[in-house]
């Protein structure tokens, strides 16, 4: 069973929770940019959390299903319809053989997720279905969907869907919380205060490797070259020119720029929803608080 792409979206990618355990050979995990929304879509369908989904960025396309199944959309709100009828997000949607789903442009954040019963069926690479764009591998032929592609999905079975899930997940993108980065202390208090008080705007030069943000220049007085070291997800690197970049899911595994801050795990899904022109500020919180927020979020997905 396949969906046929009648008209592709801007950047449709097959993703799961990521490819772990290969960072020491230079392979970053990739995976869904907003894992919270991806998990919600899978939970509503009764799928495994890691079942492969379609990640749709900025605007979606038109897709025809050749067998009946059930899907669920979650994430930022995109207009979506089948046979001219609008379909809601975060609800199981019955699909009949030959149905065509049309997804328009986002009215809020950057991404939404299309989950399907038992997931999309692509060959796993190193235990994951996620697309690794840098090396053009994984996912569906290592690339985004194009016109006439036929993306296979797994056979559905009859399921009873639980209603009334509560997902207190916040997609607000005006405040991103962060802990001090590995090189926080090499920046003086003036630079630290600038970073955590001024507004940043998401640049058009952003992608899944890094979100470039325009804001105050964070210039150090005596910039020394740093020895290359491992790069944590969400690290905010400051370049020699004083520009800031949020390290994102397709990031290089190691890097040599100092890291002033690190977005907390519980807010990484918000980074996945940032789009060009979005304005936000960083809020500094403690490591303990950040960890508690992560653990609370984990509980939401254990229902």
């Amino acid at each position: 069973m396949n969906i046929t792409v009648i008209k592709p979206g801007f950047h449709d990618l097959v993703q799961d929770l990521g490819r772990f355990g290969y960072s020491h050979v230079g392979i970053s995990p990739t995976g869904a940019a907003d894992k919270a929304s991806m998990k919600i879509a899978n939970i509503i369908l009764g799928n495994d959390l890691n079942d492969a989904v379609l990640e749709i960025t900025l605007f979606g396309g038109t897709y025809t299903f050749d067998r009946s199944t059930t899907i669920c959309l979650a994430g930022s709100k995109f207009p979506a319809s089948i046979k001219g009828n609008d379909i809601p997000f975060k609800k199981p949607i019955k699909i009949l053989e030959g149905d065509t789903l049309t997804i328009g442009g986002s009215t809020s954040g950057a991404r939404c997720y299309l989950a399907i019963i038992n997931g999309f069926n692509v060959a796993e690479l190193l235990g994951s279905s996620s697309t690794h764009l840098m090396s053009s591998t994984g996912g569906f032929r290592g690339r985004n969907l194009q016109k006439n592609d036929r993306l296979p999905y797994n056979k559905p079975e009859e399921r009873l869907f639980a209603i009334d899930h509560k997902f207190p997940i916040d997609l607000d993108r005006t405040i991103i919380r962060a802990t001090p980065g590995l090189q926080f202390d090499i920046f003086d208090t003036v630079q630290q205060e600038l970073f955590f008080s001024k507004e940043f705007t998401v640049s058009h030069q952003s992608n899944r490797m890094g979100i470039r943000i325009n804001g105050p220049k964070i210039l150090r007085k005596n910039p020394e070259e740093m020895v290359t070291e491992g790069l944590p997800l969400g690290a905010v690197q400051v370049t020699g020119d004083g520009d800031s970049i949020i390290t994102f899911i397709d990031h290089q595994t190691t890097g040599g720029y100092p890291k002033i801050a690190n977005v907390i795990a519980a807010d990484m899904h918000k980074v996945g929803q940032l789009r060009q022109g979005d304005c936000f500020t960083f809020e500094l919180i403690t490591m303990d608080k950040a960890e508690n927020l992560h653990l609370e979020m984990e509980k939401i997905f254990k229902q």
Partner: protein, 234 residues
């Protein structure tokens, strides 16, 4: 085999609420590399249920925790681990001999290196093939080796604007370092040659062609030999 005597306890700090940085030294040396390599092995075996990714580098190891694993409890466990006795020895290194064609279209920047270093192309090839290079770690992109040991007389600044695409197998000089691109990727280093061999294989990640801790030697081949071996596996 030499024993490393003055093993200092590394510093361990949270890097984010989901990752921990372990720093062994501020220096880059073969001794420090052995520590990194030794603990990388231990961590990947002992804590495979708690750690989802390990990124060793020149003198540090970054670990990423599995979701739900406690940061501070893991830090306490690591401190305990480093307090135990460890007998770290310098390991025998596997040497990988890599054929490189330093000619024509494979070496678009060799003249730039020549004019910067004021050495003839022959001297550059001689110095580059004389070196024994250590693979400190793999990082940046799939299979990319960070190698050390280049003759500093070959030092040449990076290109002012990076190329969008550097062919797989390209051998290059960037500042004080030399490197080799296992897969096609962007890059700003001076390309001085190319190997016909396939250096990265998704099916051989547990035993990569260019492994962390391996030694590299380059030898010069001509264009005919390049064509004869193009795409060969190691």
């Amino acid at each position: 085999m030499n024993s490393i005597e003055d093993l200092k306890a590394p510093t361990i700090t949270p890097a984010s609420d989901r990752s921990i940085m372990i720093r062994f030294s501020t220096e880059i040396s073969e001794y420090v590399h052995e520590q990194v390599s030794y603990f990388h092995n231990i961590l990947s075996k002992k804590y495979d249920k708690k750690i989802s990714n390990i990124s060793p580098a020149y003198n540090s190891i970054l670990i990423r925790l599995e979701d739900g694993v406690s940061l501070w409890r893991m830090i306490a466990k690591l401190k305990q681990l480093f307090n135990e006795d460890h007998n770290i020895t310098i390991q025998e290194k596997k040497t990988i001999k890599i054929p490189v064609c330093y000619e024509g279209e494979f070496a678009p920047d060799i003249d730039r290196v020549s004019s910067h270093t004021r050495m003839s192309v022959e001297e550059i090839i001689h110095k580059h093939t004389k070196g024994k290079y250590l693979i400190y770690f793999l990082g940046f992109s799939p299979g990319f080796p960070y190698i050390g040991g280049m003759d500093l007389k070959l030092e040449t600044p990076r290109l002012s604007s990076p190329r969008i695409s550097v062919p797989a197998g390209s051998v290059a000089i960037g500042g004080k370092q030399t490197g080799i691109y296992p897969i096609q990727s962007p890059g700003g280093w001076n390309i001085i040659g190319r190997t016909p061999l396939q250096l990265f294989d998704w099916n051989k990640l547990t035993d990569p062609v260019l492994p962390m801790g391996g030694k590299i030697e380059f030898y010069s081949i001509n264009e005919k030999e390049y064509q004869d071996n193009q795409g060969s596996l190691f």
